[in-house]
Symmetry: C2
Subunit: 712 residues, 2 copies
């Protein structure tokens, strides 16, 4: 039962963690500590399923109370086992888990799944117990899944290391690997996958993740060649880089990774924090990373199922052109609406296509796209088949949807037609059959055809396929550009970098900045104004004042000597009286900049995802619209462009009301360059460019804050 | 079988259209012109269903080829009938429809449903035929439903005047009245209603609406006391006022009106225009009218079904506070996310509630909101019952959702618990049961409990109930304010009103305007500048130049005599050379206005909905964000406030970055006042106020265009 993907090490070297995990989910032997002969109980259910559902490996129940359970010899303890099992299930009270885990280690076991609850989810005390488990696992070089988890299922090899209700029903294997942080919700999703006739190859509940994490477990699942689609449910993650590595590996393998993460909103994040006991990852950052690394995010379990159905059953389209054949004009309109909303085109057909359709169509149908064939195909089945085939031949059409409803009297004929289309068409298509007769979905699935019961769902599924195909292409394009960043040392201590030096840093990082001069006296300020030869702004400079406007520390648009002189003095006066403790270094003199677009650019260090760069619409609407997008640094020009394209204010870049269009190449290059610098400058803690003005001469940074922090 | 709601007129007076329609959908007798003995054919199916499904009235098949069909005497023509039937179905080829319709009229029939296609949907020629049908109906005082329609079903009285596939299955009656412009999509929706175990009282397909329209037919359906919820599917409407009257009547009756309208997007509208052959109604206006008159808009058929299920099965909550009891923390987070997105609060519980919950809960559950009871309730059923009851008693909670999954082994117990909660709770609650065992939904429905299979759907349904309850309250509040508008005559001819007069009109309409003076000479311009005593703008004035900036016709911020004089001359010079044909009246002199918020306000006459007022965010982002909202004029201050509250830029009104908050009362009053004036000024064709600046002194209109057109 050894899998082709797994090469075990020689006996001399201890196995790698990856190897242990791979063996854990495909074990040749399973021990159950605390095994019960009562098969309905948590500690009895794994045995029941292992025995009844055809597991072929060795089963070792461990419980001093029994001689035998379900025909298997029962052992009093781990030490009595004839061999070290590949997997040990621990189903004992919380207080006994540590001892059991140690016993597994002593017996040479490498992997344990701990069902028991009563750890981190109970608060501080439980968390300390949980850390103890992690330490024991570490001590023995073991992998630990859980605690407080439902365990896992490997449906290919009939491994039921779980007490999930899902295992009570049929658990047919299929191409989907599913890993979930939630037990109850994960069980529900698994059951919904089953209800749709799709199959899970793996079902893994990670529980408290004292040791093995979501990304690690999913990482081993996707290496199984039988898994073609990865699906995950998340509540929070601690190691962002592991998730990113997982996403990259999925793209290398050409396997889509679909994730649902809850905690999108402020209220949801609050609920998540109370539920998981840990701070939820910031959703906007998670979302940005998902976009950047080609993860398909599903907003809820229903959308996840729709995506899984499409991704596991349908070929990928080579573009985003949707062709629609419909029995109802209204349904065609609705699908066209949705297509526009989710980024699919419903292209005007080539003249040749229209001509061919018109020849096929009844007079009262519509041969545009959507093609409305009305109910006439009941009398003329060829009409349906030919119109779909003609439509799919159009070069602008990359994927098709066929909409129909009811038709209880014509099921056999229709399935025959769809099978013929499937055989003859080179492009993917989806059937949308509303209020379909029973059994139709299964029969179509048997023919390799994906079916949905609602038009918008079919369109969203098609969009998911097109998006994944584009992500795959993008991944390959960017993979070449990856290069290790050279670390940049900044010659400054912790805290805010003085403005003049910060401006110099930013110029080096690739951001054109408005020039600045520090004036310690009114005379110096006047000299600086003369040198610039244009109207200037004066801004207080102090390591203790970050928000200059709050203390009246900014004066704009001065263009004569008396004003510069007077304002210098009153600025210093005002700031020293409002902030008597602040050290005032003087005043920054800066020529006034102009621009018709006001952006804001920022860098921050996130505990989960590391260096994140933000760009967004500045000015009065910044806080209101929150029209910003994020990417993990460093990133390419292509990614920077994608980031800008995500902004709602995007059309402004093309020039509105006669303003010139923005040089997108230059702006993307600026962001990419800044991202490389920010990623390499490890001391950088926070950077704010607000505003970055875009005028006819291109972008120029006006105000900046750069804060450093030496990392321990 | 005479209905209590219907009072027929005395025989002396011809019945009203309303009375004819009411009789048509509850006929005592049905004739079928073109009746066939082949019950599978379009012209045989109504007879089949009328006979088999228990219609109690008289049935008159009409076809000279038969003596008898299905045990009913068959008549050779309308003239041979023993009485004038309440309803006549016409199922003959298109070319024979006109003659049949005339025969119905001659025989004293008042209502006809025309199945036949081959009319307006075929183009110009067909449309002319369709108008002929309308004229014949009019001539005889008849009501005509169709042509090109599937007809209708009245499930209460077993009237099957249809050939829809929907009638092939069971058509149990229920509290929902459904009227659809699409036959095929409507049939699909009806089948989905059936699949959910909900019942349609009426199913009506309006077809081409040569005579009876959607609003008219729905209008008669909602008067039936057995109908409690109205559901409609729309592709376009011609008479907006009829729809508004329908919406008002629904509120008077306390019956929710749920509408799905396709053609939301540009692509969708294009597809709709090609499908219906008519210009689709502008979606933003439809949407605004729906909000204004309390229509619940469903984005697709699935959302419509969810809404129908909630509205027909659940009491209305008295507020928007959602209490969640869940078996999965993750599902709780997801529902909380969705609640925030759809406008529900997930309130922090009162201390007393938390205390009571904590006493009930197991130690590892969470007694916040969401209340996470984990799977423990399987062992302790009372835990579930009590926690829901305690939660629903919290004064901040107005509706509850209980989330659970699978539980195949505990169905009876759970249904018993929910039934107990239903009996003891005074507030509504919804069960969300994911991957529920078969038959659970039906059993809960029998107990008067609404169940969904996905958490987000349950939350959206709860939001729909809360929204409808709020709309009902709002309707009652506004109903008092309705007053007939006095017509206002404007003493100007067609075309653009000169600026000075336009400003005076707008001031009368309640809009504070920046003052203006028309200067015919440079001397007059200088005098005006002196009189204003501040910086001014000069703007060219010409009935032939609407877009002044396009011709360089605007100069801003002049504050000395030489500038005013010079710019006057160069402005006149520039405009007369760029537009030699334009009549130049001189130059408008206007003091410079300032403000920190730039709005745009407009009025237009829409062919469907009449006078529509728009307000939105002005400036550079206007075209990009399209952050505007509409209302039909006239409207109340309350409605104006709602209109402003819809804007995405809404938080700006509260004052951002230290700017003062906007006086919302004053701004709402301005909009309401303008709306009353605009509705009363029938000559008004178009009005543009751009910008309306809001500064510390309140709003002031700066540039305006007022265009009049005498209506024929």
């Amino acid at each position: 039962m050894k899998s082709a993907t797994m090469t075990m090490n020689t006996p001399d070297l201890p196995p790698s963690r990856q190897e242990i995990l791979a063996r854990m989910i495909r074990p040749r032997s399973v021990a159950v500590i605390g095994a019960s002969a009562q098969f309905s109980k948590v500690n009895g259910r794994p045995l029941k399923h292992l025995l009844e559902k055809g597991y072929q490996g060795k089963i070792y129940p461990i419980n001093p109370k029994y001689q035998e359970i379900g025909g298997c010899r029962c052992y009093p303890d781990m030490a009595s086992l004839p061999e070290a099992p590949d997997l040990t299930i621990i189903a004992v009270p919380a207080k006994d888990v540590a001892a059991s885990l140690r016993a597994v280690g002593e017996a040479g076991g490498r992997a344990a799944v701990v069902f028991s609850s009563g750890f981190g989810e109970m608060g501080e005390l439980g968390l300390a117990q949980e850390h103890r488990l992690r330490d024991i696992a570490c001590e023995y070089g073991m992998v630990l899944c859980g605690p407080n988890c439902l365990g896992f299922i490997n449906a290919y090899e009939h491994v039921y290391a779980t007490f999930s209700q899902y295992a009570d029903g049929p658990t047919n294997s299929g191409p989907i690997g599913f890993v979930t942080q939630s037990g109850a919700f994960g069980t529900a999703i698994a059951a919904l996958v089953r209800d749709r006739g799709l199959g899970l190859g793996y079902f893994i509940n990670t529980g408290n993740e004292a040791d093995a994490t979501f990304s690690e477990l999913m990482g081993v699942v996707i290496e199984d060649p039988r898994v073609r689609v990865a699906a995950g449910y998340l509540e929070g993650i601690r190691d962002g880089q592991a998730l990113i590595d997982l996403a990259r590996r999925c793209h290398e393998l050409g396997k889509p990774l679909v994730l649902t993460k809850v905690g999108r909103t402020v209220s949801g994040a609050r609920a998540a924090a109370s539920h998981t006991g840990s701070l939820a990852v910031e959703d906007a950052l998670f979302d940005a990373v998902a976009r950047q690394y080609g993860v398909l995010r599903a907003r809820n379990e229903e959308q996840m199922l729709d995506m899984l159905q499409a991704l596991s059953g349908c070929a990928l389209p080579l573009g985003n052109g949707l062709g629609i054949v419909t029995q109802s004009g209204g349904a065609g309109v609705m699908m066209t609406d949705r297509a526009e909303e989710v980024g699919l085109a419903v292209p005007v057909l080539e003249p040749e296509t229209s001509r061919a359709l018109a020849e096929t169509m009844p007079t009262f149908g519509a041969s545009g796209n959507p093609v409305d064939i009305t109910g006439q195909f009941v009398a003329e089945p060829a009409l349906l088949r030919e119109s779909v085939l003609i439509l799919l031949r159009d070069p602008q059409v990359h994927i098709g949807i066929v909409w129909l409803q009811l038709m209880n009297a014509h099921v056999d004929m229709l399935i025959e037609i769809f099978t013929q289309i499937r055989a003859r068409a080179s492009k993917p298509f989806i059937v949308c059959w509303v209020a379909a007769p029973d059994g139709v979905a299964q029969r179509l699935r048997n023919e390799g055809i994906v079916m949905f019961g609602a038009g918008e769902r079919a369109v969203e599924a098609a969009a998911c396929l097109a998006r994944y195909a584009a992500m795959q292409k993008g991944y390959r394009a960017d993979a070449i550009q990856d290069e290790p960043a050279h670390r940049i040392d900044l010659p400054f201590g912790d805290g805010a970098v003085p403005t003049v030096q910060a401006v110099a840093l930013l110029e080096k990082a690739g951001v054109p900045m408005a020039p600045v001069t520090l004036a310690a006296t009114a005379d110096e300020a006047v000299q600086a104004w003369r040198r610039f030869g244009c109207a200037v702004a004066l801004k207080i400079e102090s390591p203790d004042i970050l928000h200059k406007t709050d203390v009246g520390g900014v004066v704009l648009n001065l263009d004569d000597e008396p004003s510069v002189r007077a304002e210098f003095l009153s600025l210093m006066e005002r700031c020293s009286s409002s902030r008597p403790q602040a050290r005032l270094s003087g005043v920054i003199v800066q020529p006034m900049s102009s621009g018709h677009i006001e952006l804001v650019v920022g860098v921050k260090r996130d505990a989960v995802f590391g260096t994140m760069v933000m760009v967004g619409y500045g000015g009065i609407l910044l806080e209101v619209l929150r029209d910003v997008s994020f990417r993990q640094a460093p990133f390419s020009e292509r990614e920077a462009r994608a980031m800008l394209d995500e902004l709602r204010m995007r059309p402004v870049f093309d020039g509105v009301r006669g303003r010139p269009a923005v040089d997108m190449f230059r702006l993307s290059a600026l962001l990419a360059s800044l991202s490389r610098w920010a990623a390499a400058a490890e001391q950088l803690s926070e950077l704010d460019l607000n505003p970055l003005l875009i005028g006819s001469d291109g972008p120029v940074g006006v105000d900046s804050v750069v804060i450093l922090r030496t990392r321990s």
